[in-house]
């Protein structure tokens, strides 16, 4: 049975509360009246979103209601939801103003959303396209959304949606062709010529640039045809589906001239200048996008300086390594680096070069090889001045780009969250993953040196002694197994007995060997500690005490372990706090970090499970366990509340299990029995009824878990 719709005043009360009208003086009466006409389900839906938006910014929420009312007739929940999420996302990234624009331009959004439905969305294929780009070789290009399609020589920008053709598969083909084309611009040296200068020197720069762009595209098309025939077929296929007209007659001669192998960008520029009158404007190829010559010049100049410094610094390091390896007499004069092209290539194929000393190739590390490729991509060569190792004084950390990235810095960047790990999140309603949804940063907790550790060790003095004794028995040990069917040594006692038996006419036993049996525990356990705001007070204290006691236990056992805390505020601020890494010893510093565990924000759990799954996968162990210490349900201030959070957490746990990890949960939430079986499975959790008992119980739970 459907519930009765809310009345105007009920809605107004809710809105007043959400929008803090007392302080914001927002008028809620009109929207409330509009909303009151809707069925209850729709009302709930919209009010829920108002609430979420209000937690981001009151103004967003208010504008949202206003606009929603205007599009009520076309109410498509999926689209409204996407719109609201998008607005919050823009708020996170760019602030209030741009976010308000998103809300205000709802019609635009609706149109785009419909386009997205038929078209192909970049975000959904970004990873595939990125792998594709990286596979093609050369400088590792990034992929970004752009209003126009182009490359700045470091990123490839592609439109957010392509809906030119009818099916998603066909539209994907357009993406693929575009990606390959912009890769080709980088790989086949379009930007090796100073295009900016060239173009500005022309009498009619714009006309020249358009002509050059088209002609260069024809050259690259020919390169692609030679190197990636399959892709070329895709290109033709799409062109045909689009009904592209054949190249104008006037262009055909020039086209076949630039299609010859060995033609480079300079040749194209020459033809372009020489034939100005004979080449009338020509429609662009569907994939050629735009040129952003100014941006290219800027990015390229910065990179050239940086890579030169890095390369010469790498040679300097190589030099000192060589000096260490060779016998002393050779050290006298520094090695002279030269370059060598192993096999002369076919011209347009990028040369691979070797670095030699005394005509012998020296092995260069992988990252230096990449650097070399990138330099050759820019210059078509490795100029001699690059081969002079940097002197000891020439060390400019800014150019070398070696200064560590501060995780907090990331917020100053925009879309590409450098230094953050990106994880997908499961949306049960849509039944698919939001790609790269959570930006996760790993921070190391600053230690606190107060009296906490001493107090705890003192308080649980007796318990710890008892724990040590119990757990010592579980340690790794070698045991000699006797009377085995096979083994490394003869069991003399058994043999003597057996011989006696045969002497007496009995049958000879076959169990005559001893074998060394190693009971290897070989366990790696990762503790995932809830640092959400709700752990404030007793819970936090109990958690810290539990960690100290468990660490003592684990030290006795010799199991590998790590401790991480987690907390978050919306998907862009997911934080993992390292308390003890697998490779760190349990020392003062780690104890200081345990003391510093404190309540932070919300309990978004999926990302933490996904991140620690990766951490666990990187350690060598036969059994890997992930234990969550928590005080309640997954929860975050955006949409991670309720079922969404539970479903995503469950999904993350399934992924962990799939990766061979055993998840387990220890909670003090008395309601845990209601939702934990669904997330962790019927036997993989433990509800502790008294917070104070957590420290006492945790070791015991661990023992039973790993017996």
């Amino acid at each position: 049975m459907s519930r009765a719709p809310l009345s105007v005043s009920a809605i107004q009360d809710l809105l007043d509360h959400c929008l803090e009208v007392e302080f914001s003086f927002i008028k809620t009466e009109t929207p409330a009246r509009h909303l009151a006409r809707l069925p209850r389900a729709d009302q709930d839906f919209i009010l829920a979103w108002v609430k979420r938006l209000a937690s981001t910014h009151i103004q967003l929420a208010y504008q949202f209601i206003e606009r929603t009312i205007s599009v009520l007739s076309a109410l498509d929940k999926g689209i409204i939801e996407a719109w609201a999420v998008h607005a919050m996302d823009i708020y996170d990234r760019f602030g209030l103003r741009p976010a308000l624009i998103v809300i205000q331009e709802v019609d635009d959004f609706m149109r785009q959303a419909r386009e997205r439905k038929q078209g192909t969305v970049l975000a959904q294929h970004a990873r595939v396209l990125l792998h594709f780009l990286h596979g093609l070789s050369g400088r590792e290009l990034k992929l970004e959304e752009g209003a126009q399609a182009y490359t700045d020589t470091e990123s490839v920008f592609l439109p957010a949606v392509i809906s030119t053709l009818e099916t998603p598969a066909e539209n994907f083909r357009i993406y693929k062709v575009m990606a390959a084309y912009f890769w080709a611009q980088n790989w086949f040296g379009t930007f090796r010529a100073p295009l900016m200068e060239f173009v500005t020197q022309q009498a009619r720069p714009e006309e020249f640039q358009a002509r050059f762009h088209r002609l260069e595209t024809l050259r690259l098309e020919a390169c692609l045809r030679r190197h990636l025939p399959g892709l070329y077929r895709d290109m033709q296929g799409v062109a045909q589906a689009l009904g592209t007209a054949p190249l104008p007659l006037a262009w055909q001669e020039a086209a076949s001239a630039v299609a010859q192998p060995g033609v480079d960008v300079y040749a194209v520029l020459r033809i372009c200048a020489a034939q100005a009158d004979r080449l009338p404007p020509c429609p662009p190829a569907f994939y050629q996008g735009a040129f952003s010559l100014e941006q290219v010049a800027r990015v390229q100049a910065a990179r050239l300086a940086q890579e030169k410094a890095r390369f010469r610094h790498a040679l300097y390091k190589l030099q000192s390594e060589l000096a260490r390896e060779t016998a002393p007499p050779l050290v006298a004069d520094a090695p002279e680096f030269r370059k060598q092209i192993p096999e002369p290539g076919a011209g347009e194929q990028l040369e691979t070069m070797e670095i030699t000393v005394d005509d012998k190739p020296v092995p260069v590390p992988e990252n230096v090889k990449k650097l070399m490729t990138s330099i050759i991509q820019d210059l078509g060569d490795l100029p001699d001045e690059y081969l002079v190792p940097a002197g000891p004084g020439e060390y400019d950390p800014a150019l070398l780009g070696e200064d560590a990235i501060d995780p907090d810095e990331v917020w100053r960047g925009t879309y590409h969250e450098e230094g953050a790990f990106l994880y997908d999140e499961w949306d049960y309603q849509r039944q698919h993953y939001h790609k790269n949804w959570c930006a996760v940063r790993e921070k190391t907790l600053e230690p606190t040196y107060d009296g906490f550790v001493t107090t705890t060790l003192h308080k649980y003095h007796g318990v710890i002694k008892h724990l040590r004794r119990t757990f010592e028995a579980l340690r790794d040990e070698d045991r000699l197994l006797k009377r085995q069917f096979y083994g490394d040594d003869v069991d003399i006692d058994a043999l003597v007995e057996a011989l006696a038996d045969t002497h007496d006419g009995g049958e000879m036993s076959e169990r005559l060997f001893t074998r060394m049996h190693r009971t290897e525990r070989n366990i790696a356990v990762c503790l995932m500690v809830d640092m959400s705001g709700s752990t404030k007070g007793w819970i936090n204290l109990a958690e810290r005490e539990a960690l100290i006691l468990l660490a003592e236990t684990l030290e006795t056992l010799g199991d590998q372990y790590a401790i991480y805390g987690f907390s978050g505020m919306a998907r862009k601020r997911c934080e993992i706090y390292k308390i003890k890494g697998f490779d760190e010893p349990y020392n003062e510093l780690v104890r200081g970090r345990i003391s510093a565990v404190e309540p932070k924000d919300y309990t978004r759990m999926g990302f933490a499970i996904r991140h620690l799954t990766q951490v666990l996968r990187a350690v060598e162990a036969r059994t890997r366990i992930l234990i969550t210490l928590s005080d309640g349900k997954p929860d975050d201030y955006d949409s991670y509340r309720g079922r969404y959070g539970i479903e995503d957490t469950r999904r993350a746990l399934i992924e962990a299990r799939y990766a061979g990890i055993h998840p387990y949960c220890v909670t003090i939430d008395q309601e845990g029995r209601d939702y934990l079986p669904y997330m962790y499975g019927p036997a993989a959790f433990n509800v502790i009824d008294d917070v104070a008992k957590l420290p006492l119980k945790i070791s015991d739970i661990y023992r039973r878990l790993t017996l």
Partner: protein, 270 residues
């Protein structure tokens, strides 16, 4: 034809195995052999280490005894153990001991997989003592000049925990194996399978695309071995795109998006 059983230490490779040298590995190995130095072959999977050993065994006219190491391999598995027959104890040599006694080449494949306490038994053999102590017999076996010890080791995918100990690695001459330059790899694929050189060139190009993805979503790029597999399928009448998909792509990853991307790469090439 019924199988023919031979003791490994009596098995000499009589037909020259096909091996395409990539650098100076043959000369270095020979020199090390003459100087009685043990050799460590480093390199990713499927890049010709095993083939190289077969080739060297043939060239040096010594039997080749290969032991594939695994995490349960004990010292006794290598050196030997007592058995009991008719009430008598009977010592049986392990493969390493047989190799030492017979002056064979002993090749311990994937040595880091073996337990750490196992690795140390080769230490006295791998320094200038060149002896194999057999504690259980209270004997020492001196290695004849023909004996040679070689290990293989893939530094790429193992974790830090499985790194080779310094005290072990510093006893060896290290030969680094990498995937050959494209021209040579094409030659290898053609020689091994008889596929047309243009096809082989495409396959090698494809392999290099996957190698570009190493560390960027793939743990390892396609090895020469996988190329040989794909080429064999193509020879068997399978289309290149399908051959790449089944012999190479599927062997590299299970990740759905990566599979799609790598398939897009191969379909761009052929």
């Amino acid at each position: 034809m019924p199988g023919h059983t031979l003791k490994t230490e009596e098995y000499f490779i009589t037909k020259e195995p096909y091996f395409q040298p990539v650098g100076e590995e043959v000369q270095v190995f020979e020199a090390a052999y003459r100087q009685q130095l043990p050799v460590l072959l480093k390199g990713p999977t499927g890049c010709g280490k095993t083939r190289f050993m077969e080739y060297m065994a043939w060239r040096l006219k010594r039997p080749l005894i290969t032991v594939s190491c695994h995490d349960d391999l004990t010292a006794s598995d290598l050196v030997g153990r007592f058995l009991i027959k008719g009430g008598e104890t009977l010592w049986v040599d392990g493969p390493l001991t047989r190799a030492v006694r017979n002056g064979a080449i002993c090749y311990l494949d994937e040595i880091v997989e073996a337990r750490k306490d196992t690795t140390v038994v080769i230490h006295p053999l791998a320094d200038d003592r060149r002896v194999l102590p057999m504690d259980k017999l209270g004997e020492l076996v001196e290695a004849p000049p023909e004996f040679c010890l070689a290990l293989s080791y893939n530094p790429g995918y193992q974790s830090v925990l499985k790194d080779l100990k310094q005290s072990t690695r510093q006893r060896f001459i290290a030969l680094e194996f990498a995937y050959p330059v494209p021209e040579l790899e094409v030659t290898i694929v053609v020689q091994e399978t008889g596929v047309a050189p243009e096809q082989a060139a495409h396959l090698v190009k494809f392999a290099n695309m996957t190698r570009n993805l190493k560390g960027n979503g793939l743990d390892e790029g396609a090895s020469t071995r996988l190329l040989v597999h794909a080429a064999k399928l193509i020879r068997g009448g399978i289309s290149p795109v399908t051959a790449c998909h089944t012999a190479i792509t599927q062997a590299l990853t299970d990740d759905a998006e990566m599979l799609t991307a790598v398939n897009e790469l191969s379909s761009s090439l052929f």
